[in-house]
């Protein structure tokens, strides 16, 4: 298979498969959760503002309580660094926007080159730091399983493969013909691996975070307890 065929495969059938698995996987998990039995709570609620409680928990849990700051600040800041970094890299880079535009027709302005470079650095440093903590903290070593390490590798792979495609000046327009079809194909395949893996492993926290926080927020609001 020559590199252009590989690229065609990565851009064509494999992309369709990856997006299908991504969407169906998430839908299946959501359906599975909603389908689980849920007994009505007959206790007299202290407050009926459960929706506000759920939304409130989603927002307030974005930051820790002051009393935990000393012990969780580093981890929280680091998580923000690589999450925001990933978002900037994925949604703010010129070729990525062009790629999405070709698929969906949607487009938006790119971020400046310096911001993109900072985001890339934040992702690499952040992910490496997170792994180091995972490997050295006795608590995290005990908790960690295959999913944690696999998810780490699958998340950093598109970053590494993407670096190999970075041959142009950061602000230059997206070329009609890719200069290096093979590295680009590999980059795309690594992103597709991420899409396929996401619904199955811990990366599903991307959508579960809202449901989990919301469930607790609603339950606590009902009791008049704060989170």
């Amino acid at each position: 298979m020559d590199s252009l065929t590989l690229l065609a495969f990565a851009r064509g059938p494999m992309l369709v498969i990856a997006i299908a698995v991504f969407v169906l996987g998430i839908l299946w998990r959501l359906f599975h959760l909603l389908w689980r039995p849920s007994k009505p709570d007959l206790s007299e609620p202290r407050s009926t503002a459960v929706v506000r409680g759920a939304l409130g928990a989603i927002v307030t849990r974005m930051w820790h309580h002051k009393t935990f700051r000393e012990r969780t600040l580093a981890g929280t800041l680091n998580a923000y660094a690589y999450h925001i970094g990933l978002a900037i890299v994925f949604f703010g880079f010129v070729p990525h926007i062009a790629f999405i535009e070709r698929l969906t027709g949607l487009s938006w302005p790119a971020v400046p080159g310096w911001l993109f470079a900072t985001a890339v650095a934040a992702v690499f440093v952040g992910l490496v730091y997170a792994l180091m903590v995972r490997l050295t903290s006795p608590v995290l070593r005990l908790l960690s399983d295959f999913d944690d390490y696999a998810s780490w590798v699958i998340t950093i792979l598109p970053m590494i493969t993407g670096m190999a495609v970075l041959s142009l000046a950061l602000d230059s327009p997206y070329p009609a013909q890719p200069l290096y079809p093979a590295p680009l194909a590999i980059h795309l395949l690594s992103v597709e691996l991420l899409l396929i893996w996401l619904p199955f492993g811990k990366l599903s926290h991307a959508f579960l975070v809202f449901i989990s926080r919301g469930a607790t927020g609603a339950a606590f609001a009902r009791k008049g307890a704060s989170l």
Binding site: R36, L42, H64, F68, G75, R134, V209, S212, K223, L227
Partner: protein, 472 residues
Amino acid sequence: MSAARITVGTADLDHPLDLTSPRLSVEKPAVRYDTQGDRTDSDRLAAAMAAFSQDFGRDAATWLESCIHCGNCAEACHFYLTTRDPKYTPIWKLEPFKRAYKREAGPFAWLYKAMGAKSKVSVAELEEWQALIYDACTLCGRCTMVCPMGIDIASLVGLARHGMSQAGLVPHELWAVSERAAREGSPLGATPKVLKERLAWLADENEVDMHVDLPQAEVLVTFSSIEIMKYPQSLVATARVMNHAGYTWTISSAGYEATNFGMLAGNAEWQKRMTMKMIDAAIACQAKIVVLPECGHAYSAMRWQGANMLGRPLPFKVLHVSEFLAENIASGRIAVTTVGRSVAFHDPCQVSRRGGATQAPRDVLKALGVELRETRDSGDLNFCCGGGGGVIANHRADEIRYKAFVIKMAQMDATGADEMVTSCSNCRQSFDDGQSHFRWDRKMGSLLELVADHLAGPEGIGATARQVATAP
């Protein structure tokens, strides 16, 4: 491992109570029976798994699937913070249950089974985890406050205990006291006969009117057996407050015990039995309000789970005694005099953080004119006394419980307050036990007793000859 296991059959119920030490429980067993019934491992496992998959409803399933293994919950747990042993990381206490859920009932259970990707949980593992979900978790829920995914770990531990109970894997003392409660009506020997004798003695000794088994009353008053057996002055204080406020009130010898060790052990049937006694008693006397005693888990059991036991909304209002005091002080029905000392308040986790009644005791203390000195972590972020969730009954947990208590001592000491009060008799005995263990020169008091000692007007102290009013 099964060969060495000693099990207790239903015939062996001889677990004598120890009612003289600072902490009430069964006597320290010479031989522990941490498994119940004579059953095969596969039978235990099947029972546990059936209970797990039945229990793991929508919310629980969401929480079990959401953990990102960040380890933050360890930093909220008094058992981890004082031992630095990673096994006390709250979410780790649920590891086999998480695995059981994912393998048996999760979204990809079919895939895991087909691939053999997740191994089946074994009875040996459940026995190992017994020490984590019963001895090393007070269900205090502080971990819930730090989890970035908002997982309510304490709820999950409570559910996991159901499976453990179904499998006959409850720690010796917790099983013994909850079995006694189901059989005798009280975990600590506070049978109806003992209760009536105590009330007669207390009424006489303290010259206060007590009402037992009135056919009709506005308020049904309930107690914790810890109060009945260890803090009888709380019973007197309750009566004084009720008389002062001018309610028609009664104690029911058919439903007075508000503690619910069945719930703590994870035995849903025993939990329901204990709760229904109070509900039936309240319905029988047409009570409009059921007042729960100074007890944390009693509040969870009746306020938040009672209606679910009955199967319909409760036909009466449920108030923790601190809420009852706050409401009646606010309405002017209870008048208090000024205390004029500084007080540090210890929040019972199940009433404050997990019950939503954090403000009530503070309103009461404000009315008493005390200078409230909050601990560094107070209110909803309060550290547990270490004795909740049935942990205090369990001798095997003593060592880590004392370690965890050090946080509490340090925070209480740091307030420099003249006195300490709480509104949970279980917390209180936990403090008493810690006080004795560390020879601490501070004593935990009761919010209810503080109010009863500062009632304004002649009702404050028994003015006339009092007696127990008992229905014919």
